[in-house]
């Protein structure tokens, strides 16, 4: 028998072992997410994908789909929670979009616009974050890191290396590089690595490729992140 769950009143199929996020993506339903990429093991850290499952809030990217689940993805409360989460991500780092090369292509910014976020609501941390420009081709700007952990997973799961990790707690949390000097130039990183291209924000950038697409003509400038993400992730799933 076909197994189904219900998202916002719509009945959708799932197969055993799928998460709610997997089932939603296959059914062309967008659940906002930042730390999740269907190519990697779920991490469940950003909490943007919070949905209500039979009345309890869960992370859709880690929660298994199960028969009889009644899931709410869109409600005033959930949208408000997601907006607050996004605002926390903004004040925790140093996001000066006008001076960031990723602007318009950035998933964090794209989520902000999708959620109709106009301000950051909370007081800003203005945390001290480091930059690492040591590598000839790759730049790390930790001011924009949201600790999605995708670079860690990409380096381990796909590149079969172990270049990145996250260290520290709270305001001192930061990305660390696996090399004797701690600098990227002394690590195993290669410009072709998945880990270099997975960053949803402007924390990992490729040098000498900036501003090739002018501001105003970028991915999320005219298309909302739900449409962009579904198109991309369905393709990843070979549909």
């Amino acid at each position: 028998m076909r197994k189904t769950i219900t998202i916002d009143g719509q009945e959708i199929p799932y197969t055993e072992g799928q998460t709610i996020m997997d089932a939603a993506i296959s059914a062309d339903i967008y659940i906002p997410h930042l730390c999740h990429d269907p190519d990697y093991e779920p991490h469940g850290s950003c909490k943007l994908c919070t949905v209500s499952v039979n009345g309890r809030n869960c992370s859709a990217c880690t929660f298994p789909a199960m028969e009889g689940q009644e899931i709410i993805n869109h409600s005033v409360d959930l949208e408000q929670d997601r907006k607050r989460i996004t605002q926390m991500l903004f004040v925790e780092g140093n996001h000066f979009c006008p001076s960031c090369e990723k602007t318009g292509n950035c998933q964090l910014q794209g989520i902000g616009c999708y959620l109709n976020m106009h301000d950051n609501h909370f007081p800003h941390f203005f945390a001290n974050r480091e930059m690492d420009a040591s590598h000839p081709d790759i730049l790390i700007d930790q001011n924009r890191c949201i600790f999605c952990n995708l670079y860690v997973r990409a380096s381990q799961e796909k590149d079969r290396k172990n270049v990145f990790a996250i260290s520290g707690r709270g305001i001192n949390k930061h990305l660390i590089v696996n090399s004797i000097s701690g600098q990227l130039k002394d690590s195993d990183i290669d410009i072709a690595d998945h880990a270099v291209h997975i960053c949803p924000t402007g924390a990992i950038l490729i040098k000498r490729t900036g501003y090739q697409v002018p501001i105003g003509q970028r991915t999320y400038d005219h298309t909302k992140i739900d449409a962009v993400t579904l198109a991309k992730e369905n393709k990843q799933h070979g549909r």
């Binding site: 602007t103 301000d119 800003h124």
Partner: protein
């Protein structure tokens, strides 16, 4: 016709780019002038803000004078609006927040490239710098935000048209930018 809405504007720690962008509504300014009149603003040179309907604040707060001006606006304006990235999150001036004020002053006035007759300005008329640049919502309550660096002329137009029409201001996706 109903009385015109009173609008006050100011630039705190901003670059005036937001004010310039406001002027990008071009000939629509003539229509706007039928519905609003300016109180304190760089456009009028009125020095202090009287009771107003709308206060538009460009720029964050970087010195003691900014704090006083911002409070004057909050006291007098029914609706206070943070205009542009600097007012909303401190913007580019807030990139100095990772350095000590002393280091910033030394870099600009003592050790900077091509500085002659090096000295740190200390005229009593000059407002004192705060140790950090703050978004305005950290000092006063803000009612609305117009994101962008700067927000486009269309953002100003849409926002003010909504208020003039007595509607809750909202921005369509196309006009919502953080850059």
């Amino acid at each position: 016709m109903a009385d015109k809405l009173k609008v006050a504007t100011t630039s705190l720690a901003g670059c005036f780019g937001c004010h310039m962008s406001f002027l990008d509504i071009n000939e629509r300014m003539i229509e706007l002038a039928q519905h609003i009149e300016f109180d304190r603003s760089p456009i009028t040179d009125i020095e202090h803000c009287g009771p107003c309907d709308i206060g538009l604040i460009e720029g964050g707060v970087c010195n003691s004078d900014n704090v006083h001006v911002l409070r004057e606006f909050r006291k007098n304006c029914k609706v206070l609006v943070a205009v542009g990235a600097c007012a909303i999150n401190g913007g580019l001036p807030a990139m100095r927040n990772h350095f000590k004020v002393e280091d910033c002053l030394n870099e600009s006035y003592i050790d900077g490239l091509g500085v002659e007759n090096a000295q740190i300005p200390s005229d009593p008329e000059l407002p004192l710098l705060l140790d950090k640049v703050h978004p305005i919502h950290e000092i006063v309550k803000v009612d609305y935000y117009m994101p962008g660096c700067p927000p486009s002329g269309d953002v100003f137009w849409t926002f003010l048209s909504d208020i003039i029409a007595g509607e809750e201001p909202s921005l369509p996706y196309e006009l919502l930018h953080f850059d």
